[in-house]
Structure formats: C-alpha cells, structure tokens
C-alpha cells in the first residue's frame, strides 16, 4: 500500500473551493464490493469445521477463536463461590442496561456483569443517532425496506419488522428515562437523513447520541434496587445443564483479583457487543477496549447457531491522522450534513451517502489504485472535505459536531481549515447469534442482544440502526428472560465445553489456542491469563 500521492503534495493541491469534477457513475456495485471490500479479501474466509455452524463461512481469525479450547476446566471450579440470581446480563453497554432494566421492571433479581466499567462500551461511541420512523413522510414500512436493502436482503424480515416497529416507542421510553434529543425550533424531534435512508429518520443528540443514551441508562441501572452491578467481571465461560443443552449460568472472573465466581440462573442475556479489538485483517478499529468477541465464542461453545460470520462493517471514515486517534470515527453525520469525500487528485469518487460497505470499498479502491493521500508506507487515506462544508454552512461543524471538534482541536487540527484524512476502520460485526424476536438464541435459557446478535443488519448495517436495535431487543430480551419460568438448574456443568473438545478431537484439530480473549494482547496487563 505504499503507492499514493504524498501528503505535502496533496495538501498543496487542496482547495476548499476547487471544482471537484463530475461524480463518476457507479456501474457495478458487486464488482466494487468483491474487489475491494475487506470481507472479500482472498484467504480471509475459512469454513468452520465443528459446532453448530460447521460448514459455514467464517472470517479466519474469528474461526480460530470459535474453535478453541476453554480457559477453565472442571478443576478450576473447585471451591468457587456461587451466586444465585434470576437473570444474569453479561455486558454493560446500552443493550445490557436496557435488558437489565426491563427484567428488573418485570420483577426479576438481576445481576449485570461487565468486563470493564458500566458504560464502557461501543454504545458511547455511537455518534450519529438513532433511527425511528417518526416523520410524516416516513413509515415503519420504509424503515424496514431501507434496513433490508442496506443489508443486501440477508437480514431476517421478522427481526427487522420487530425493530422498526419498536422505533417510536423506543424513543418514548428513552425520553422517559431522561434522554435529551436535538429539537427543531418548534419543539419536534430533529431528524436527519443519512446513508441508505429513504427519509429523514435519524434522531440525535448533537454528535454524541450514544454517550447521552448511556448516561441515562447507566443512572437508571445504578439506581434500580433490583439490579446488582459487578464491574471488571468478564464472563469466561457459560454453564450448561447436565446434558449441555441448556444455559444455566456463567463463570465470571474478576480483573482485580482473578477469582472465579459461578453465577447460577434461569436466563443469561449476552450483551457483550462486538469484536473490533480482534483487528480482523489488520484493520484499525473504532471499538472500545473490551470489544474482543467473547460473546460469540461463549455462545458458539454452548451450541448456539451464529450467522453472517464472514460479514463485518468497516466504517468508511475512521481518522488516519494523527496516529494516536487512528481508527477513531468521524461520524457519518458529517457526511449526512454534506461533507464530501475527495481523493488525492482533488476529485470526488463516490456518492458519500451510499451504504457504508460501498463507500468503504470505494475508498479502498482509491487507496490501492494510487489516488489516495500517503502519509507514510503504512498509511494511505482520502480527504473528508470539512472546510468545504464549513464554507457552505458557516458554524455548522462547531454547533452540530462538538465532539469531533474537541477531539481534533486537542490534536492541533482544525477541521474548518484543513480536510480530515480518513481511512476505513473496523466498526461493526454485522452477524452474530441467531435470535428470534425475543432475543432468544437457539440454546434454551440463552438470549443475545445488541451487536453480539445477528440477523437484523444482514450483511451491512445502515446508520442509526445499532442504537435502535440495542434498546428494542434489549427490552424484548429482558422481558422474555424474566418470563422464562424454567425450574432452574439442578446441576451446573461444563458439559458443553466437553462437547466441543470431543468435536475438535474427532476433527483432528489442535486445541492450543484458548478463548475468550477478554482483553486485546496490547492492553495493560496483557491477555487475561490465570
């Protein structure tokens, strides 16, 4: 990737008022995606050999984790303290909080365990907003269609309908929790139209919608007397019944003292989020430190079916420079507000509001065909033309994107004067655990909500659906998990781990790699290891 136009040369050529030339027509989207989208990189996809998805395609690094040995063994459970609870929620992001709140509301005693701290999640990274069909010229039907089309029709229509139908009610619920949204002068919710939407549907709070959402959910969870929160307590294994067919709890550890704890329960809700920190295909990521795909590993091990394991979203505009912000998002809202993408030759090359996978592939095409802007041998990107946006709408950046402005300002960059250098960043896992409209996985007693669940976004997520999904399905799973009146486990075992070990042995596969990863290798303290 060393070809491209040197930074100084490109900067010298850049004019915010230059004529960008005509937008080249995009004739064949399939060819563009097949040639340049990272999901299609040669050798990056393998077939799974064991488990519920044996024979399905899966990203190579992820496949290694799904077909790996567990960290703990029966022997490790000797003398482990046991906690009994009605519902265990694993994950302290938006989905986990919404699930915990609804379960507690319905009368369950809830334990919410989170790997880092409550709210350390990708929810707070969501900048753009939350989708809900609330405008007069919009409809639930159009929301469903946009979501399915954006996902290349790989999504599950039942799940998409459930989510889109929940949209307006989710907003009402969030407002009742105390969440602030941008309003029009007349007091209506302010909406924006973003990539892949056929109507203005994006409700937002400046450019820190997720942060605002997390603020109110976090407060509500902390204040609820039926919810106990264990921070710095990642799950390292689920527990199954005697036959390994039902999820009846989890083994948690503590990042502080390494002690294991057994939690026995009727229902486990996985809300563990995504896997950006696995840095698939060597990409930088926009995800928070704990996003290591643990939920997928645990769910797969206990026998849950997963889907779209070869499909990930690379956000088109991750910051490339300065390097310490590498991978950080520039929200799609900036493009929705009118910012254009420009290559090193000073030309537009794609409609910026196309679905993310196409914009991403187009940027990678510019970079690999020598029209990108080169900082050094590793880093090539394209311009996000913020000065032009500022010229057309003076003050807009400062007013609507304070988060972006603050972050770049402390790095000595002023997006109003110089364009931002951007490059796709690993952003979202499109697939995940197969769920029904209650968030129930294929394993009794196990629910999955949020990014760890699959089927809603098909093979590509459109903006603003992630925040809607976590609340919509978080609430549904919280209610369903409480309604699960299973008599509870007689015995909690690691039988499902044995089942995977049997399958790996029979398939002649190595059992050297261990999972879940818990923290990225470069995190302080390194890989969690007992």
């Amino acid at each position: 990737m060393s070809n491209g136009i040197p930074l100084a040369e490109a900067l010298a050529r850049y004019r915010p008022d230059a004529d960008l030339g005509p937008l080249p027509e995009l004739t064949d989207t399939d060819t563009l995606l097949n040639a340049y989208h990272p999901d299609h990189l040669r050798g990056s996809v393998v077939k799974l050999a064991v488990g519920a998805n044996a024979g399905d395609s899966c990203q190579r690094d992820l496949a290694g984790l799904l077909q790996s040995e567990a960290f703990i063994d029966e022997a490790d459970l000797a003398g482990t303290p046991v906690t009994d609870i009605d519902v265990l929620v694993i994950g302290g992001g938006g989905a986990g909080c919404a699930a915990a709140l609804m379960a507690a509301e319905k009368g369950a005693r809830v334990l919410l365990a989170t790997k880092l701290r409550l709210g350390d999640s990708n929810t707070v990274m969501a900048e753009g907003g939350i989708q809900a069909a609330i405008e007069p010229d919009d409809s639930i039907q159009r929301h469903i269609q946009d979501t399915l089309r954006g996902g290349h029709h790989a999504g599950d229509p039942a799940l998409v309908s459930a989510m889109a139908g929940d949209g307006p009610d989710v907003l009402r619920w969030l407002i009742r929790q105390g969440m602030q949204f941008e309003q029009t002068p007349s007091g209506d919710l302010h909406t924006r139209r973003a990539g892949g939407m056929s109507a203005a549907r994006l409700v937002h709070c400046r450019d820190y919608t997720g942060l605002e959402m997390m603020r109110v959910l976090r407060e509500a969870v902390i204040q609820h007397r039926s919810i106990e929160v264990w921070e710095q307590s990642p799950a390292v294994e689920l527990l199954s019944n005697e036959l390994g067919q039902k999820c009846v709890g989890a083994v948690l550890t503590s990042l502080l003292d390494g002690q294991l704890r057994i939690v026995r329960t009727r229902s486990v809700i996985l809300a563990t989020g995504g896997l950006g920190r696995l840095h698939l295909n060597g990409f930088p990521t926009s995800n928070h430190l704990g996003a290591t795909g643990d939920g997928l590993v645990l769910a797969y091990r206990i026998g849950a079916r997963l889907r779209e394991l070869d499909s990930f979203q690379y956000h088109p505009t991750g910051l490339l420079h300065p390097s310490h912000l590498s991978g950080k998002l520039v929200t799609e809202g900036v493009r929705a507000a009118g910012a254009l993408l420009v290559n090193g030759l000073g030309r537009r090359f794609i409609d910026e509001l196309l679905p993310r996978d196409m914009v991403c592939a187009a940027i990678l095409r510019e970079c690999s065909e020598g029209r990108g802007i080169r900082i050094d041998d590793q880093r090539v990107g394209v311009w996000l033309d913020t000065p032009r946006l500022e010229r057309a709408n003076p003050g807009l950046l400062e007013q609507q994107f304070p988060n972006l402005m603050t972050r770049t300002r402390v790095s000595g960059i002023d997006p109003r004067l110089e364009p931002l250098l951007v490059h796709p960043t690993l952003h979202y896992q499109n697939g995940g655990a197969v769920i029904d409209t209650n968030g129930a996985t294929t394993v009794p007693g196990l629910y999955a909500v949020g990014e760890v669940a699959g089927g809603i976004h098909g093979r590509n997520r459109i903006m603003g659906n992630a925040l809607l999904e976590i609340i919509s399905f978080g609430r549904r799973a919280g209610i369903a998990a409480t309604a699960n009146r299973d008599r509870g486990p007689k015995k909690v075992t690691l039988e499902h781990v044995n089942r995977l070990r049997r399958a790996l042995t029979l398939a002649g596969m190595p059992m050297t790699q261990r999972a879940p990863q818990v923290l990225p290798a470069y995190a302080a303290g390194g890989v969690w290891n007992r």
Binding site: E74, A75, L77, A78, G79, T505, M511
Partner: protein, 423 residues
C-alpha cells in the same frame, strides 16, 4: 490418535431394544413391519407362560433396584382385583447422568407400550398408566402419538378379550419432582396428590394406586418383555455375560470422547464401556473415578475397571449398578465439588416429610459446600462422618440412603481429598 478419528467404535454388539429397525418413533405401520404386535398375540394366547419366561430369563428391575422382576409380577398376579389392578410404567427418569428411558420412549414408544400391555396381561392388570417425566417433551410427544395410534388399532381389543375385561391405557405426565420416581410417590401423584412416598408395608402389590394391587416397572424393564415373550428365556439369558442376563442400556457421560446410550450385554466390563464404546477419556487425561448414577449412586475407581457391570458383581464390590449410568471423571476434577453438587441435588429433591431426610440432606449439603469452598473445619468433616452412620434407613423411601451411600463411597475412596480441602 488414529483410533480417535473414527466416528463410531467398530464393535459388534447385539442390539435388541435399540435395534435400528425398532427406532422408528411413533409409527405403528413400521413398528408392525419389524415384528411389532407378535408378543401381544402370543401373550393373548397364554398370559401365564409369559410370567414363567420372565422368571426363567431372570429379568431384573432396570430402574435402579435390580430386584427380580418376576417376584413383583407374581405377587401382583396372585392378588384379586379390588376392583382394578394397575400397572404403572415408570418413565419419571430424572437420575443424574441417566438418559436411557427417554430414548426408549422417544424412539421406540410402541415397543414400550407392547411390553406394558404384555405385562398387564401376564399379571391380569386392567389399567396401565404411562407415567412420564413432564420435562421430556419429545418423549411425551412420541408416547402420546403412539398411544393414539394404539387406540385406533385392533390391539387393545385383542388384549381386552384375552383379559376378559376392558384394558385401559392412560397417559400421565409426572410432577417433575425427582422424588416422583419413587414407587409409592408415583402412586400418590396418580391419585392426584403431591408425590410423597408412602410407608411400606403395605407394598404396592397388595395396595397401590387407589388401594388396588399395583405393579410398577421401569420403562427399560418393560421394553424387554416383548422380546422375551417372543424369543424365550434361553435366548435372553444368552445375550448377557453370566451372571448377567440380557442386554442393558448404559448411559455413559462425563469426560469421555463418545458419550451416549450403549446397549451392551449385561455384565460388560467397565473398561470396555469406557475405552472401547466410549472412545476413551477426553484429551487423553487419566481416569479418576466413575459415578454410577441411580437412586443410590456410588463411586468406582481405576481399580474397578475390570468389574463386570451387572447388579451382582457391583454389589459384591460394595457399589451399585443403579440405572446403568456411568459418569466418568478425569484426573483434575474435584471430587468434593462433585459430591457437594450431588448432595445439593438430594437436599433439593427431598420431599421433606421425614425429618431425618429433610434435615439430614440439607445438613450434609451445607457442610459439603463449606468444605468445598475452603471454609470447612475438621469438626465439619467429623459431623459428616457421623451422619453417614446415623442417617441410613431413617426415611420412608430410599432417598436418604442414596444420599448417604454416595458420601460414604466418596469418603471410602477419596478421604484425603476431603481432608486437604479443610481450612
């Protein structure tokens, strides 16, 4: 490693109950094609002859007791109906590590029904109750469908004619309580009450369901009946490895490569079960112990590998075949934790009507939890040892005996491990 890569162990066994032709589910036509109904036709001709064959075959109670089936049969046959005579088909299977009956009910429901009807003819019972664990959804569905097929066939009429009065087949999901599998507890449930075990005597053979003479047999026991009725006692005895007779369904689970239900000759050595049929231990770890599942679970150790898995050989070792469940534990697994789990299971399962059992199991469970979590003292261990001598035979049913026998067996083989876990 080479042998581990083979999908299934290549051992010729003589399958009777689990013969592929019989595993047809609730499909009467296919069951009839594979010889179904033949035993009933013979029993209708001469019911007493079936009882004689069962006696000669030395068929045992396969629900865990190992009690000779013919003795219960004869006792009930000798009674007069008052006004009914019952046969209860015990499918409450809920023992740790046991999953054989659910397989028979799900995949061979007609075999089970025919066995029950033949038994009913042999002892003169006019009411047959299929009493099944309500958590076994697939077994319930298969049995329900199969019973409906019976009602629309000519078979019940055939049996009724032979019996001289109408034969009623009833289907009853159990209570979901472990204790509901106890003989007399099931009768309480059938009468519409909570499944509290009754005191004995009177024995069910004299006064069981609604005071009527009642025979209660395990699903697996009855599934053998049609085959003995057709092929005779000599054929059945030859299937087993002496002193065992016939075949047995072993439920193998735990740290083995191929867990599952295996139909093998009664008296198959433990070593063969684990290392040939089970494919050996998982990840090549050494064997530490085997829990024999059942109402009174005990431990076997590597020293017992060559013991024949039949009722008498195991009893001679101070152990118990139980339901034929073998839960394999590899080195590295804590015995204290496992035993603590079992005792918690017993404490939860105790119906609470006998004080010694209610308090005894709870106390054992509490003390074991303390030892397991590193808070136990030498006094706790001494208390447990005392309980093991005080509690046996102090309850109406065998639950308390089972709870004690397991702990006793664990102390016998792994006393050091308990001592090491003390504070």
């Amino acid at each position: 490693m080479e042998s581990l890569n083979k999908k299934m162990p290549l051992v010729e066994t003589h399958l009777v109950l689990l013969h592929p032709e019989r595993r047809v589910g609730a499909d009467m036509a296919r069951w009839r094609q594979s010889g179904g109904g033949e035993a009933l036709a013979r029993a209708a001709q001469d019911p007493a002859a079936v009882r004689e064959e069962i006696r000669l075959a030395e068929l045992r109670g396969l629900g865990g007791s190992g009690f000779p089936a013919w003795r219960k049969w004869d006792a009930v046959a000798a009674e007069l109906p008052k006004p009914d005579k019952y046969l209860v088909v015990n499918g409450n299977e809920d023992e740790p590590g046991t999953f054989k009956d659910r397989l028979l009910l799900e995949e061979t429901p007609h075999q089970v029904i025919e066995g029950a009807v033949v038994a009913a003819l042999a002892i003169g019972a006019n009411r047959v109750v299929f009493y099944i664990n309500p958590d076994l959804a697939r077994s319930l569905a298969a049995m329900k469908a199969a019973l409906e097929q019976w009602q629309t066939s000519e078979l019940p009429a055939l049996a009724s004619t032979a019996l001289g009065r109408p034969l009623q087949l009833e289907f009853l999901p159990g209570s979901g309580h472990y204790i509901g599998g106890e003989e007399t507890a099931s009768m309480e449930w059938i009468e519409g009450r909570f499944p509290f075990p009754r005191g004995k005597p009177p024995y069910p053979a004299q006064a069981g369901v609604h005071g009527c003479p009642t025979l209660i047999n395990n699903v697996e026991t009855l599934a053998h009946v049609p085959h003995i009725a057709v092929h005779g006692a000599a054929w059945f005895r030859a299937l087993g490895k002496a002193p065992g007779t016939g075949t047995k369904l072993y439920s193998l689970s735990g740290d083995v490569l191929h867990p599952g239900v295996f139909e093998l000759p009664m008296g198959t050595p433990l070593r063969e079960l684990i290392f040939v049929h089970g494919g050996g231990l998982l990840s090549g770890k050494p064997l530490k112990a085997v829990f024999t599942g059942g109402p009174s679970s005990t431990l076997l150790t590597p020293a017992d590998l060559d013991v024949a898995l039949d009722f008498d050989s195991l009893r001679a070792r101070g152990s118990n075949l139980g339901t034929g469940a073998m839960i394999v534990i590899s080195e590295g697994t804590g015995i204290v934790k496992r035993v603590a789990e079992y005792e918690r299971f017993f404490a939860h399962s105790s119906c609470g009507q006998c004080n010694s059992c209610k308090v005894g199991t709870a106390t054992m469970s509490r003390l074991l939890d303390r030892i397991d979590t590193g808070r136990g003292t030498a006094a706790d261990l001494a208390s447990l040892e005392n309980l093991c001598t005080m509690l046996p035979n102090s309850g109406r049913c065998h639950l308390i005996n089972g709870a004690v026998q397991l702990l006793d067996s664990a102390f016998h083989h792994f006393h050091d491990e308990f001592r090491q876990a003390l504070r």
